[in-house]
Each structure stands twice: as structure tokens, then as C-alpha cells.
Symmetry: C2
Subunit: 340 residues, 2 copies
Amino acid sequence: MLGTGGGGDVRTGSLAATRAIREYGEVPLVRLADLADDALVVPLSGIGAPTVSHEMIHSEDEPKRVAEEVERLFGRPPSAVMSSEIGGSNGVAPVAWAAQLGLPLLDADGMGRAFPEVQMVSMYVAGLPADLVIMSDVAGNVVTIRPVDGLWSERLARAVCVAAGSHALMADYVLTAAQARGAVIEGTVTRALEIGRATEGAADPLQALQDRLDAVRLITGKLTDVERRTTGGFVRGTATIEGTGADRGRRLTMELQNENLVAIEDGQVRAMVPDLITVVDTETAAAVQTEALRYGQRVTVLAWPCDPLWRTPKGLDTAGPRAFGYELDYVPVEELMTRG
Amino acid sequence: MLGTGGGGDVRTGSLAATRAIREYGEVPLVRLADLADDALVVPLSGIGAPTVSHEMIHSEDEPKRVAEEVERLFGRPPSAVMSSEIGGSNGVAPVAWAAQLGLPLLDADGMGRAFPEVQMVSMYVAGLPADLVIMSDVAGNVVTIRPVDGLWSERLARAVCVAAGSHALMADYVLTAAQARGAVIEGTVTRALEIGRATEGAADPLQALQDRLDAVRLITGKLTDVERRTTGGFVRGTATIEGTGADRGRRLTMELQNENLVAIEDGQVRAMVPDLITVVDTETAAAVQTEALRYGQRVTVLAWPCDPLWRTPKGLDTAGPRAFGYELDYVPVEELMTRG
């Protein structure tokens, strides 16, 4: 994930959202079709290394300072908050930010999953110029970046994030509703809610989740090795899962950069970005974020197809395996599955 | 110095200025008293490690992009360019930037010398809030920082500078003429011109320079050791000069961070920041910048008092020896001279 703006993992993000709703009131969910063409949508996310953001104190002033800067630059206040990435705490924390700002939340996001780098958003793939980033940190600084392209937005935003203590709140793009149409992935908040409802209280949460996502089960087993380091504002490393039960004797290795990027078994790639690879607790089906992976955990690794936008040539250029330095040609997870 | 925005040392800066004047016309020098209260003054400087900026290609678009951002933020274009620091190429390059923008140059600067860090400007010492920095790099990116204080402006601007390739053009503060009165050091461009006229073609340029500055001659000798490293956007190190002629047997050591910070002889401090310590070519009296120090050079080290602003408590807090990590109580150079 870009970072954990709500002040930690999904649970901490949920607590922040619950508290904000109690204090500021319910957050209406709006569809893009409900917004006037010139209404401003602010895609918000936390940026930073998750291991750091867990220890950061979250300030409620950060969203307000971003909204003030939007109004200063555009001459009108934002009309809605959007999650930049629906995965991790960045999928939940925008509820808190919207509540604090008294704004509705847009039923959409910029990834349909989570990605570690700033330019890896649907708006960029859709061809909207990555020409504005607004950042606000805990100390109270506000930085506005007008980058020449998406790669520079990542480079400069990451540098600012590291200088600000490896954590900041970020608006990557400010969109009119007209610009957002076709450039964001719609319905993802609703889908997340549906998944939550399907698994919560289910007799077999893992099976319910797998069915809902139409996901491949890559392995069920035990985490036997986790190697992780925080570098340049990212958490990088590898994790190894040894199969248990029906999967005994198998072994899956995952490459990490804030997210799970590539899953390998017996030298064969089983799934790769931009398809989704998710580690969940085998018993509860709760997602285990990369920074929470611990030796001995009983987990299952699921994989499922990304939004079709990411499978276009520009989508793969932006967030395919080569964008992360892997010399791999992308093969969709459903094809890899039939090969195995 | 903050960096060498003109694309290199003083000579390169002079060439850029000469070329810009030829292409865009003469640059009028204006006094602060000539400007209307609400006229906008943009203090410009290059920021970066000088050893890097020597190798950077300078883009003429950088000042234009800063001026555009000023107009976007303030609703009116700037009325004059000011040099943030009169020392090094940042003292000369603003002539080129003013020519490119078709603006006059203000007869003033923000230091009355050169300093390595962003917050070390007279505006900060005078109590103006350090709440706006605009940066523009060779790639075309523009970054606007609204820092909570001067120390954050340095921290964030330095991070952006390093990410942009260790060189950028920077407006540190944008001042109305009313704000600038009493918060900038006036007359320094005129003084620099007078020094140039006094030394150029003089029979004894070094003596002419020393007289004009009312400077102490710390040593005349040969550079026998230079240790320098580029780290975090700065050049740091030490330089040793062994006396020759009348100074034979003496040895002066200087501590560097882009500028000469402390001069020590026989364990005794001879001069320290914020007073000026300058290395000049013994024959021509031309200044030798820290990044141009080379083994074997025949040099003279001069020291003279800084502007009184730097000797106030806030001035010393900002740019006294302790601001650079030296556990020294500031003693003015003229007092140290009488002690020796």
C-alpha cells in the first residue's frame, strides 16, 4: 500500500473511521453519476512505509489542510473524498477523512486493489496528466507538487514523505467529476462492503471469501520465513509459506514491496502483479498485511484477477511485473492456474 | 552556498548573466524605496551541492515556472528579483534570472554573505514566518512548500532538491516590498559592484580587497590538504593551509559545509560563523569557492564582520556556530583578532 493514513492497519483504520463517524456523523456514499461535472473529487491516501505509520500519531488536521489547499488552488471546496486505493487501511481511513471534512465518500477508488507507488493509479493509466499532488504531514507542513509526469510525482512525493518522518496524507490528483468518469474504478466501496458482509459470521469464512472473489487458493500452510527491511519509504522483502494438511510438502515464496508482488512455487510463477495476491488468516479469512506477517502464522494465499484496466498495455507498463524490476512477461492468474 | 543556480561557480554565473543580458536586455537595479508597498519581490537562489550543480545543465524555464507559480498563488506577477544570498554564483545568477523574466534586480539580499541552509536568511531572523518555498527543477517539476517553520523549510526543500538531482531553483519567501523593508540586507549588490571595481586592475588586488572589506588576513600560504564529501545535498569537509613567506611555519584549518564555517590555528579559533571567512587567490584576489579548493593552490584567507543582524540572539541561533553543531560561544572576529 502507499501507506497507512488512518494511523495503522485495517483494524486501526476501522477504529479511526468508527470514532470519526461518532464524532462528525455518518458518511454518505455517493456514485460518480450523482456528482455535477465540475464537482471536485479528492483522492486521498496515506503514503509511507506501513511499519513506520503504525507508530505515528495521526492528526485530524491533515485532511483539513489538504482541503484548504484544494480550495486555495481551485477557488472552490472539494465535493467528495475518494479512496486512492481500496486495499489496506487506505481503503478504510477515507471514511474517517470524509467524516472529518463533512463530505460524502465516492463509491470508487484509483486501483481496485493496493499498489505501493504514487503513479500506480487508474487516473494515470487512463491518460489524465499526473500534474498535481498535495501532501500534508503530522507536523503541519503542506507540500504541493506539480510534477511533469507520474514517475516524478512518485519520486518527489516519496522524498517529501521520507523527510516528513516516512508518513503523510496525500491527494494524488484532484479530479472534476467529469474527469473522473472512466478514469476511476467504480463500485469498489460497495464491493468491499459486500465481501465484509459475506464473510462476517459465515460458517467457513475462507470459503465464503474465495467464492465471493472467485479467487484461486495458492496454498494453505504456515509462515516459515519472513525477511523484511524498510528502505526508501518502502517495506521490501520475501515471505515463505510451507504447506500443511492437503498442501503438505509444498512451499510458496512471495516477493514483497509493501504489497505481495509475485508468488513462486518450484521455480514457477503462480501469480504476479497486477493480479491480486493476498495472505489471509486461514481460520478467520482476515487479510494479513505484509507488515503484519509473522513466523508461525497459519495462513492461506489467495490470488484473483485485477481490474481489466491493469491488463491494458499502459496498465502493465505502470504496474506490471517489469514496473517492479521483475524480468517476467505478464500472464493472467487464471491462465497460470490452468497451466499448473 | 545554498547551491549554484547559475549552473556553476561565479565565473559560470557571470557568463550566464552576460549572455542573458545580451539576449534579453539590461537589468535595472532598483532600491527597495523605489517599490510600491504591495509590489512582490521574489528572492531566488540555486539550492544544491555545488559539486553537483557544476555538472547540471541549466534550463532557462526554471525562473519562468517559479514566476508563473507566484502569479498563480498571489494573483499578480512579481515586480523584482532579489538574490537570496549575495555570495557565490547565487550573487551573480539572479542577474540572468531577472533578465530572463524582464524584471529589475533589487539592490539587496537575504544574507549579506552566503550560508548553506534554507532558513539562514535575514527574513527569518527578522521574524517573517517562513511559510512559502517554491522550487523548480531542470526536469520541469514545480514544488510549493508551506512549511510550519524555517527548519522544516530547509528539511523539505533539501529532500526535494536531492530527489530532483541535487539541484533546483528556489524562491524562499515571496515578499511584498512592505514586508521586505527591515527584513532584507540592503545595498549589497552595489557593494559587490564596488568591490569588483576596486580590485579589477588594481596593482595589488589582494590589498585593495582587504582595504575595501576592512578584512583581517588570517594566513597566506598553500593548500596542503582538502577533504570533502557530498552528503545529504551538502559538501562537507576540512581544508588545511600551510603558511608561506612571512607566514611560514603557521597552519590554518577550516571546517566546511558548502561555506567556510570555522578557522582554527594552534587549537585557537581565529574566526567563526556568522562572520565571513573567505579563501582568495593570493595573486588575483578572486574568491575560491569551497568546491574549487585544490591541493597546491596559493591562497590567502580573509575574515571580516557579518551584518549586525547575524549578531543578534536570533541571528546567532539561526546561523551561529552552534547552529552548525560546533560547541563554541560566538566571539566577533575583530575581538578574536585583538586576542591573538
